[in-house]
Amino acid sequence: MWQLLQIELFKIFRKPRTYISFGAIAAMVLIVQVALKFDGQSYIEFLLGSLKDTLDIPYNTILNGYFVCFVILNLLLIHIPLLIALVAGDEIAGEANMGTLRLLVSKPVSRIQLMLSKFAATVIYTALLLAWMAFLSLVLSIILFGTNDLIVARSNALEVISRNDIMWRYLAAFAYATVALTTVASLAFLLSVFADNSIGPIVSTISIVIVFTILSELQIPLYDRTVKPYLFTSHMLGWKGFFYLKTDAEGISIPGTIENLPAVLKSMAILLTYICLFTGSAMFIFKRKDILS
């Protein structure tokens, strides 16, 4: 199994397209960092709206590494699924397209083992992509902007989190994001089983993510109750739950707490269920598939 995984990882990292994702993330993160370095105050003014008329806003201290990292994650975690689909959608369909799939299944390994090694390689790719993103968005931002308390803007509230209460939240958020993106990877992996070239599963995955994201963000009561709770895209934003704090009776936030931990864990459980469902279905279908290519 380990040998199979090594082979699959070799295949992934041999392809130039794999590095497009790493390059794209580096470019996007640097663009945001440069923009905030030179005109971060305008962005903070936009986020805080008319509050500058009532409050003295310490722009210099708000614009710190933790804040920049949150801005980057907020902007990019919606787009990263596209980069994940690029590799995951190619896992089976790519082999079929090159005509190596039939050769592969004729080897003395079970189809389940083959699928497991391919999926594990995809998960490792996803985790590495997120680790790269974490390094650039968190570590590099801290080097460039320093540290201070973190201000998180919600649609109807502002959260201020003490600087010594932040790092564990980021670690939890990145771990959660890995699960969320693995859900997208498993969807692309499933669609990859049905196709003979990788374009179909990649475009289909991207389309599903876009449509579901739009549905998740629409504020229409009909969808809020009926559709949204079941969309995996609604739960992919659960990483933000680690940055929402509980308050005491006086409205003071309590360090070290999460506003609604059961909801975050429920969202994570739903994502894990989707991963099992997509991956299980992919294996079930692949095991019975008549491979002609």
Partner: protein
Amino acid sequence: MKQILILALLTLLSGLNSHAQDASLLVQKVKAKLEKVNDYEATGEMKTNVSFMKVPAAQVKVYFKKPGKIKIKNEKGISLVPKGTVSISLSNLLSGQYQALDGGTDNVNGVAVKVVKLLPLDENGEVVLSKLYIDEKNLLILKAKTTTRESGTNELEMSYGKFAAYALPDKIVFTFNTQDYKLPKGVTFDYDDGSRKKTEATAKESQRGKIEITYSTYLINKGISDDIFK
């Protein structure tokens, strides 16, 4: 009959004038007590209670220097301080030209107080009216309500302890007007964890914010650099 009326009017006017003089004298006495402090550096814990803000309790330093400089600094983090905090310095409230009027008596936290209204003589100033609730016996201002042109009415409540001799409070509660805060969900991409409706309901409840500072130490008249207030 005409003479009686004039006499009654004069008596009434002299009574009012004597009340105004009493109020003015009381304010002068309080001011004299406050003027013993040229500057101070205080440390304390600040709690912010604004419906749309979730802020942890913060350790802050409050700097004051005559004639009216005041600064609240959170050296270990970020504190969003309301713009009207200049009112938390009582010296600032009593600076400038004003007419003191007797506002009767009242009660603040069980203490009988004299109410004095301060009408600024500068008609174009930011402050329209200040109302002071003064403990006559100890010459301490227990509560102050200030109506401003742009920020509405803010309120300051103080309790005294170790530093009452300098008219410096151990605890202040500053209540001020806030504006509503709203950002499009398409910008914030909020995670809907089911607590959104509760937060919205709370936000509608109050448009008033509150800041509470509990002081632990004061360094009085030790000299403070002007750079701190920049």
